[in-house]
């Protein structure tokens, strides 16, 4: 009897196949991958980083093949690895600048340590990282291989395309990297980023070498038929060159700053409720619900803003995913969480009116938001007016989507008489006949089991706590 299920998106790497079972992640290894694992598991740096939680907890296990799915058995793996599960999967196009930067630095640090112990990371994809709270974790164990003498760093270009250039885009041009990384699975190419950089940018750290030169050299060599790898090998390419390059890259990335996040944001308080009594009542309401029973396994805070309510939810939850469409907001939340070493809140840049879709080959390689696991409790505070009035999504449709998550719900209805909604309607024709309290309540009752309702002090906002229908 097979209790395992195969990861449909795991097929590109012929050396290992991912499948799930018993709340763990399993990986079948080819003989080649097994040989690399034997080296890796004995390497001091690997165990050190694993103990610190920077590499996902991994061990080799024996599997009674009779229990495995037929497809896995047919692949005749030489051995199996078992990893701890990441609480909630996320992708680089959902991370803030600081998150991508910290993952990049971890990538380079792992590479340096591996080089010192005769190994290397064969690729440098940002998708090899996940998060546990505000801490990056490296998950792609088969990426570690024995260092072949004379071989250059094969992952360098990928590092540029998926880490360095997106970071440059944000730090040097203040252009968000998310749409780009979401749109192109391979990241930004040297000639693309080169065309974006101006003459002034050429003097910024890393641009001349890793962008301009990279672009020129790539065009120069794109049509070569020479075996460059062999030539470099014969000439005596050594890991000294890789180390030098990686150390320089580490310095460049360490010094990258996203200016807007380091300066005071005067518009910060605009997103808070105008009425402070409302806010206090909201805090009490949410806290009551959060502590009303045993710990929630998974909480989603949609439109998390400063993260106040995510933190309240985290008081009695195994894991909270805080989502907001505003990159700067999530960056601030991330820096705050990183400082305070919180382990159970994951901040993500996510536009709730168009959350991440399924992507890649047959939509299998990157999962849509809902496909990664649904919440037990969802907070939807000060969000609905943005969804309906700004994004033009019908009220009924949004509530039905929330119901499809099979979650308990705390939702705030912000009426048209509220100053925030007035602001949204200012430059629009009010075509939102569905947007009123009674219609809202009807939709809610139709899709959920209403447990509690509260009108806030201002009289323009209403809180509801609803459960899954019986």
């Amino acid at each position: 009897m097979s209790n395992y299920c195969i990861e449909p998106g795991s097929f590109r790497d012929r050396n290992g196949r991912v499948f799930y079972g018993e709340d763990k992640v399993y990986r079948g290894l080819s003989p080649h991958a097994l040989a690399q694992w034997e080296l890796l598991s004995a390497a001091p740096f690997f165990n050190e980083f694993m103990k610190k939680g920077r590499i996902v907890a991994t061990e080799m296990v024996t599997m009674g093949s009779a229990h495995l799915p037929a497809e896995i058995q047919a692949e005749r793996h030489a051995a199996y690895l078992r990893h701890d599960r990441i609480p909630f999967i996320s992708y680089p196009y959902e991370w803030s600048f600081g998150m991508l930067k910290d993952a990049a630095m971890l990538q380079l640090e792992l590479l340096l340590h591996a080089l010192d112990e005769g190994m290397i990371l064969k690729d440098a994809s940002a998708f090899n990282f996940q998060w546990v709270g505000a801490k990056p974790v490296f998950i792609d164990i088969p990426s570690f291989e024995k260092l072949q003498s004379g071989e250059p760093w094969i992952g360098y270009r990928q590092f540029c395309q998926l880490f360095l250039y997106p970071l440059f885009l944000q730090a040097y041009k203040d252009v968000p990297f998310h749409p780009w990384l979401r749109g192109d699975i391979d990241g930004i190419e040297p000639d693309q980023v080169n065309r974006i950089m101006s003459l002034r940018d050429v003097f910024k750290p890393g641009v001349l070498n890793h962008v301009v030169l990279h672009s020129k050299i790539q065009s120069r060599y794109e049509s070569t038929t020479r075996d460059i790898k062999q030539e470099l090998n014969s000439a005596g390419f050594s890991k000294t060159l890789i180390r030098h390059n990686v150390r320089k890259l580490l310095t460049i990335i360490q010094n990258l700053k996203w200016k807007r996040s380091s300066s005071e944001w005067s518009g910060y308080t605009d997103t808070h409720s105008y009425d402070t009594d409302d806010f206090a009542e909201k805090v009490d309401f949410v806290r009551d619900v959060v502590h009303s029973g045993p710990a929630w396994k998974m909480v989603w805070d949609l439109g998390s803003n400063t993260g106040t309510f995510s933190k309240i939810a985290a008081e009695n939850a195994s894991y909270v995913v805080a989502m907001d469409a505003d990159h700067l907001t999530i960056e601030r939340l991330y820096l705050d969480l990183r400082r305070n070493d919180d382990g159970n809140i994951l901040p993500l840049v996510m536009n709730m009116n168009a959350p991440s879709p399924n992507q890649g080959w047959r939509g299998m390689e990157r999962k849509s938001l809902e496909n990664r696991g649904t919440p037990n409790l969802t907070l939807c505070l000060a969000l609905i007016h943005h969804i309906v009035i700004s994004a033009n999504i019908p009220l009924k449709a949004f509530i039905e989507w929330l119901a499809s998550l099979n979650t308990h719900l705390i939702i705030e209805f912000v009426s048209k008489s509220d100053p925030m909604v007035q602001k949204l309607l200012k430059n629009k024709v009010d075509q939102y006949d569905d947007y009123d309290l009674s219609n809202f309540e009807v939709c809610l009752r139709h899709n959920f089991r209403l447990i509690r309702k509260k009108e806030l002090h201002s009289g323009t906002r209403f809180l509801f706590y609803a459960g899954i229908p019986a």
Partner: protein
């Protein structure tokens, strides 16, 4: 620091000039440039390898147009040129 930066810039321009004088071939090979670039990014060890790989080319850049070995006379005068520069 400024001195290193200036030296770095000169060197880089030199390398650019070197690379752009090479003939282009007709077939696509994506990672080759990225691998070659690592020579430039490899510090002193990288420079040493560049020198090794491109010795003839470097010589011709500094010593004027490269001539055939058969012409004894032009070859000698080339050597004289290098010596003259060295004296300065």
């Amino acid at each position: 620091m400024k001195k290193n930066f200036n030296f770095g810039c000169c060197f880089v321009s030199m390398m650019l000039a070197l690379l752009l004088t090479q003939p282009a071939y007709a077939y696509l090979d994506a990672g080759s440039g990225s691998m070659m670039l690592q020579l430039l990014l490899g510090g002193f060890a990288g420079l040493a390898l560049i020198a090794k790989l491109y010795w003839e080319k470097i010589r011709s850049v500094f010593g004027g147009k490269k001539r055939e070995d058969k012409d004894g006379m032009p070859q000698e005068s080339k050597e004289t040129d290098l010596t003259a520069r060295g004296d300065k």
